[in-house]
Symmetry: D2
Subunit: 348 residues, 4 copies
């Protein structure tokens, strides 16, 4: 562990992921918030934008360059397509760069082009970038200075399915991932679908089978299965602020009984500080992980149909974004992995 | 159509399905609310229990016998296991009986015994009972005097999947039904899971792969497919009052392209007053059906995985309970099928 | 009553008040929706804007002129400052004009100038305009062809306080009106304060003591009291869709005991179809009036402090906007006052 | 500051205030959770009752006696009438006792008898008990071993009004306190009014002018004013989990202009770690204090009516219960007053 605090800077600090990161960093025992950047609010204080921070953090938003200059680690919370340049600058300046966007998540450029449009500008950066899902990829994260923080849906889906695929207990074919996210997942930008009277007391799917997180999920699951995995992925919008609950359906392979499945998950997550495999008979719930970095996973074995149903629950803004980014920073800087992440989910 | 109004009685009028039925019947142009029964609130007025009815309907709750005596049609909104006796009395007294509970929904007694426990007391009644999902079974409903009003989840699931199965466009194997219901589905009885601070801002599945509506769904889908269909069915609890949204996943069979699928649904529901097949590119949403008797259905064809995703949305208390019961009453009594069911979903 | 249906047109039909009005008019027994206008969505159908109307009303939005041409009565649901011209055109064309905005609510131009800015363009129109709160002003409404439909807060506040002031039971001094509104009150336009994650699980006052509905409330209460009444008025934003609950505090005058107060309200509202004075011991609640045209009022006498506390509850989009507008149309056209307004508040 | 951690025990740990206290104590740097008691769940673990704590705290609920035996400080989160005996035992055993209930809040036994029923059993305890609102009474808290933690409404109301009354800026007559609380204020016990479908999308006042927190508020405000203060107090139930927002109305006395009022509050709260007086033009909001120990206060001067409107916002379960109890423990044990209370309100 370092003697002095890690200087952390946040680009895009006034977006939802950014401000949650600010909140975590302000209470981190081994890091200090060195600078915050915002294009929309440059020159304003965080308290101007979020009155909840009044009197707590009145730091003024500065330019991206200033954030990079002042920080040991730079977190980027910006729209896809913007991070490559920031990464270039950070690498050149010797900073650690943790991207909360999509620019470095997909190994294959053609996947990126197909799902996001655009091409990879700096191929060397993509070669050194690591997909930073610690439970899957911790050793690589430790060695990296350019980290692609996973998407919220992919975090929940990968943690739900990777153990069973890796253990060869379920078929890589025919996996269905039905996911439900709180409204913060849509971010701070106003839209007709996130206007209160429109989404309150409502519920619906969106981007059915065409959501951009699909290739990211498939990439991780293919790695786990050791073969190409294609999934059906349908996200839905929940009328609540935080959380993603994923219900994943997979066909069990012969010999995969309930005990084998449970054992595979308990093994896989035995020493993980942030994954809780729920006891038999209990179901993962958003309530139990809210505002924490936990991912709760419950396993349900349907003998009638030879289906393993896996339910995972995370807070989309914590384990699905800012918390996982802090977890990755901790790993890279040799800090205790749970430093600054001791939040206990409130009971209500 | 009859000259005078149908006298309608409601047993279990103070439960959620019961009181919604009361509300619909009070504004029905060809029916009148003849009597309301309640074991818990006998002797009290409906306004005592639901202040929203103050000054609108101050009818006093009477005994079951009194309801049967005063009514042409008796709706039973009671726990399973209680309806058989009421049905017996109604048949003997020449009343039409519409059961909103589960007692007459399953054709096979062994299914009932397996999923609900208990046995069938009056086998003759079960022989004459009709599973009253009008879009599937309208002709039988017309001839019947003992109607099993479908469950809420089964209504949404059956309407979503029956057309594709019937047309042989999707495989009867491997169907996944991921359903999400509002809290009124759990009824008026208090419970830890429906206490406001517990379910507000939360979301979770329950009775995973063991929900009692499973055999009812399978019965209807098996009929449609012409072969035994087994499904994986997982219900979830949404933090909102009303509605069930079902996301159903089925493997398309060779030759089943998007146009064929869409045509099958448009054919199936062409003349239906309460089913709306959404235009291509739009998704069914709870918002659009709330407090109405509509079932909205949207079709999504995933070529990547040969999957037909069908989304259906209903108001669980209307098309999923009281509204469908009124629709059935209208059919039995030769009234316009949409009489008293002209509710337009509010925009917010 | 007329032989044929009243032709009703709605300007601003795609806003929240407008679309609620459309919904009510589509089920009105003695009116027909003749035309809908929208500047933002001209050429689009209502179903394009509100998918809930898909298959129910696919009317296309036309110009204001076209709405006026096709209608017997024109409802204007537009921002303040826009209605004067529409009113001019309607009067010239012999139409009835019902303005749901603020342009014709204030008798004194100087009040309008102070609170809204701008001046009165057509003074003759303001002279013939009637403040159309039927419970206070029914006879004038009957004779009028230019109606100022009251604001949502003023409806709830005036109905709460007018009887006590008129009867001389409470002091016109020191009245406090603490009001709470659902988010639909802020309309369809997007804003930071109505973004779901911002107002969900939150609550706060706004425009404290400077809300534009203040002079409108004072105008009505001054009329009732027979002297100038000044109030403190603080609105708050509730995290729910519909409803305004107003808690009004007034000092009782000597001799005004509980019975006298209750008698005054029961007298005042004895024959009113839409005002329900709650029995002693019960409190008005938003739940009990939602989606109906009712105004529930409860009276609470605090002997410790000589205060009469009056609670009123309305649906802000119905009795506070579209429902009251229909009620006014009914009065003007000699229709039954409750025609098309028989909605029973749902129990949940 | 002590060398070793304070051993803290919680009686009634499975209620809402209790479990929030557990959550705070588990992360307190200078305290350790020594024991948890529960009558309803004795022998069960906290994780059995609140799955959110699974893997975090699996402490088993023990008897009250055991809690007292193992603790330096005992927090009681029990119904009124139960704490006197526990206080007796704690005093006899040399423990510090912090009561989150009402038993020791009212100085005058006759007030307690009038509002709660029952009498004071141990008068000596009531003599040594201190009303532990730190911002008002910090010095007394420091010396005390028997602390009455204030009620949630009284905390919000007293902090809102005490500075103005103490400074003689507003009249002690005619104060109106209109307060709105989230549903956790009603606790964990099930009730018809806290059943999700009943309070979701609803809002209403309750216990109008007869709520038991009235005398507690009056006691504190009378102390501040130096004379008997009587208030009108109306609480309302908000459809959200956490928070109390209080809107207080008071008549300004001659000479009390806006600057004088603002200066009085800024003086009063200058060094307070948990009270934030908002800048001119901003209003306190529940969003900005949620899950923190802050009390935000905003001042609004209405010249039209000579009224000072004060808005205060707290999290009812933190500053209104568990957080304030920890703050009091910190004071009594000479710990930094904000130890374990550094929670930053989430932005969403």
């Amino acid at each position: 562990m370092q003697d002095k605090k890690v200087k952390a800077g946040v680009i895009g600090a006034t977006g939802y992921a950014g401000i949650e990161l600010v909140r975590l960093l302000l209470r981190h025992p081994h890091a200090e918030l060195a600078a915050v950047g915002s294009v929309s609010f440059e020159g304003k204080t965080l308290g101007d934008v979020y009155p909840s921070l009044y009197g707590i953090c009145e730091m003024t938003c500065v330019s991206t360059q200033e954030v990079i200059r002042l920080s040991d680690v730079v977190f980027a919370c910006v729209a896809h397509g913007m991070s490559e340049d920031f990464a270039r600058q950070c690498m050149d300046a010797g900073r650690v760069f943790i991207d909360l966007g999509a620019d470095f998540r997909l190994r294959e450029e053609e996947d990126y082009t197909f799902w996001y449009g655009g091409t990879y500008q700096y191929k060397d950066l993509h070669e050194q970038a690591v997909y930073a899902l610690p439970e899957i990829n911790r050793e690589a994260v430790k060695q990296s200075r350019l980290l692609a923080n996973p998407g919220c849906y992919p975090t929940s889906a990968a943690l739900a399915l990777a153990p069973a695929l890796k253990a060869g207990l379920v078929s890589p074919q025919g996996i269905v991932i039905d996911a439900k996210s709180g409204v913060t997942g849509a971010g701070k930008a106003l839209s007709d679908t996130t206007h209160f009277p429109a989404c309150n007391e409502s519920f619906s799917p969106y981007k059915i089978a065409v959501h951009r997180h699909t290739p990211e999920i498939e990439q991780t699951l293919s790695d786990a299965a050791g073969q190409r995995v294609k999934i059906v992925f349908v996200p839905h919008l929940l009328p609540l602020n935080r959380g993603i609950l994923t219900t994943a359906y997979s066909k069990t392979l012969p010999g995969a009984d309930e005990e084998a499945c449970r054992a595979a998950y308990e093994d896989f997550y035995r020493d993980e500080p942030f994954v809780r495999v729920k006891p038999r008979g209990e179901a993962a719930s958003l309530k139990d992980v809210r505002e924490s970095n936990f991912c709760d996973i419950s396993l349900h074995f349907d003998e009638r149909t030879d289906t393993l149903i896996i339910v995972s629950a995370i807070d989309n803004m914590v384990k699905g974004a800012a918390g996982q980014a802090v977890q990755n920073m901790n790993i890279v800087f040799g800090l205790p992995e749970d430093a600054g992440l001791g939040m206990i989910p409130p009971a209500f």
